[in-house]
Symmetry: C2
Subunit: 384 residues, 2 copies
């Protein structure tokens, strides 16, 4: 690999990014699996080489299997997940056309911004923070707005810790013959997704969440109907043009512009780990058990969960702070003890904090987290 | 960092991407510096943390210094370089407005596509493959097309190995009071760029070229005038909205959506190496000497260079094949010997091959390259 002529440089950068060890319970980027990090240091190579095509093909097919996307096309692109929000609107919605944007927190609001900044109109169905969208509410909104072309759904809202009932919502949208766009950024890899069976038209995520890979890669499954609509939509742009992306995939198992190779390697590593662990169900079960353990730990401390019961997120738990204690105080105190949890986010920022449970987290880490959180809450209560 | 539970997975992936060792003389992604690869395996962390802000700030300021961008704003985003092509058009050109696109090869053609797929009009100044755009030609084109809002210039055309006289071209464009957009993807880091002094309005590149970092990160320097124009342009979208990107930079030294942290770490490492080597001039001199050595090697084999003399690229050398020999034959024969050069690209594909000289390449590698290339050419001549 070549000798290190300037090893001191690596230490200098380390002193910036890891001045002290922290156990990560973040909302993402999350701690990556050790195998992923080990594979991140492979030497790079041309994305037009035979080796790259094989890597891209293998990763795409493994992800398609995980998402149960046999009819839909799986795309891997150099972007954050939000890139596919923009792609969904520019490729499949008529300029000036309407989209029903369901909002249960900060990321639904982002989808609204993406719709509006791309010259389309948003019709909004917004719930109170902590609540999911219910199928009958969606049905009602679609009856009142029969002219929308698509429905957007945040599968897992990272800001409130709520998992929407995606399967049921998609069913309603399909009964109204609407396209279904799903922001699954903090859900994919931890909450089940069956692309074809559930009728999802574009469901996207990022590498740095439940797959435990560094950020820089966005992935999506895209239905045939979206590609058909795209053919009639003008000014789709170049970078997120889904037809161009599909063409390169079909012709050479690659991307129009250079892909983030290390992250694709990382995703490939994780998809292989999932296979070794016994497949998708076992993997999702790991996430489900971990989430349950985190929620139990919170309740055992006498704290309350923010999300509506029955709609708890499998990837992030939002906790109400006791009276007189601010979320950021908990965050800061835990950081001093070597734990990076996540601050509250959006309108509920002040009186919540968040515990992310994606990526590489051991049972020992969780035990230590709660041992420390117990003491922190007690200390802050005394001061409050 | 945690134990490796599935070490075999890393070997499986390695067998796909590195079935045998290859010395890289690619057009990019190129071989990364060993220090960069070593730093790629750092554990990830939140892009909203204090540590990330410090990393982003330090990297941005170092790159701004390297580009001599004191007035312009340096942005780092999760995308390939082409993302900034799209950003330049959507943010600074009136919908339906005209852009003078200068084309000297495949990447100028891409800029034209980006202009047109984003609902703007391209006026084209196209040169024959191998030729640069000359200042008087640009002046003439601008006199004939006074209504264009901007000029696009490919600084280094990877498909033909030509370096455009950027400084002189920008001077002409500024005399006509046009915005100057520069695709510096395969130039930045090897050919000099003085953003403010040369009057460049948006100059962009990617991590995987002359900086020798893995792909997944795009960087640009953007002038105040572009931001001012953006305020009046509708439908800029969300993902590449330069005003949103600047806002996040100013408010928190971060990005609106999650950045590709490993590549930003990698760029930081390289910018520190440049500093240790004695600064920008020494670094550019390394590239210039390496390019000269490659060209001399080609000429010593009795082969001809494709680019017009005086406009040779400092990052990639395009070589004409002898009569009867195809470029792809040279590529394949070199690959069998453990060297990954680049195939010809675009209209000159058939009778050229390319030697990239970016990233981590030693003098020993170059010597071996030519020892093998000599034998390959002799063998192919016998067969031809």
């Amino acid at each position: 690999m070549g000798e290190l002529r300037y090893p001191e440089v690596i230490e200098e950068v380390k002193s910036i990014i890891w001045p002290k060890p922290l156990k990560l319970f973040t909302a993402g980027p999350v701690a990556c699996f050790p195998e992923v990090l080990e594979a991140m240091k492979f030497q790079q190579f041309s994305h037009r080489s035979a080796e790259y095509r094989e890597l891209h093909k293998d990763t795409t097919l493994r992800l398609a299997e995980f998402l149960e996307a046999r009819k839909a096309t799986v795309l891997l692109i150099p972007a954050s997940g939000t890139g596919f929000m923009e792609a969904s609107i520019r490729n499949a919605i008529t300029p000036g056309g309407k989209v029903l944007v369901t909002i249960i927190g900060a990321f639904g609001k982002r989808y609204r911004e993406v719709v509006e900044t791309n010259g389309r109109k948003a019709v909004v169905l917004e719930k109170k923070p902590g609540e999911p969208v219910l199928p009958e509410e969606l049905d009602d909104a679609l009856k009142k707005n029969p002219d929308v072309e698509a429905v957007t759904i945040t599968y897992n809202e990272t800001s409130t810790g709520v998992l929407n009932p995606l399967r049921e919502l998609a069913k309603v949208a399909k009964e109204h013959e609407k396209l279904v766009f799903v922001d699954a950024v903090s859900a994919m890899g931890a909450a089940d997704i069956k692309v074809d069976e559930w009728g999802l038209d574009l469901v996207f995520a990022s590498s740095q969440k439940a797959f435990g890979v560094p950020p820089g890669l966005a992935m999506a499954a895209v239905s045939e109907e979206v590609f058909e609509r795209a053919k009639k939509i003008p000014d789709r742009g170049w970078y997120f043009d889904l037809l161009r992306l599909r063409k390169y995939l079909e012709q050479q198992w690659s991307t129009p512009s250079t892909p983030p190779i290390p992250q694709i390697i990382g995703l490939n590593v994780v998809l292989r780990i999932i296979e070794k662990m016994g497949g998708k169900e076992k993997w999702l079960q790991m996430y489900s058990e971990r989430a349950e353990k985190i929620r139990k730990g919170v309740l055992d401390l006498g704290l309350e969960l923010f999300a509506t019961p029955g709609y708890y997120s499998p990837t992030i738990t939002v906790v109400k702070t006791p009276p007189g204690i601010k979320g950021v105080e908990v965050y800061e105190a835990m950081r001093k003890r070597g734990f990076e949890i996540a601050k509250g986010y959006g309108p509920v920022k002040e009186y919540t904090f968040r515990i992310g449970h994606m990526g590489y987290i051991t049972d020992e880490d969780i035990k230590e987290l709660f041992d420390n959180l117990r003491e922190v809450i007690e200390e802050l209560k005394k001061k409050a």
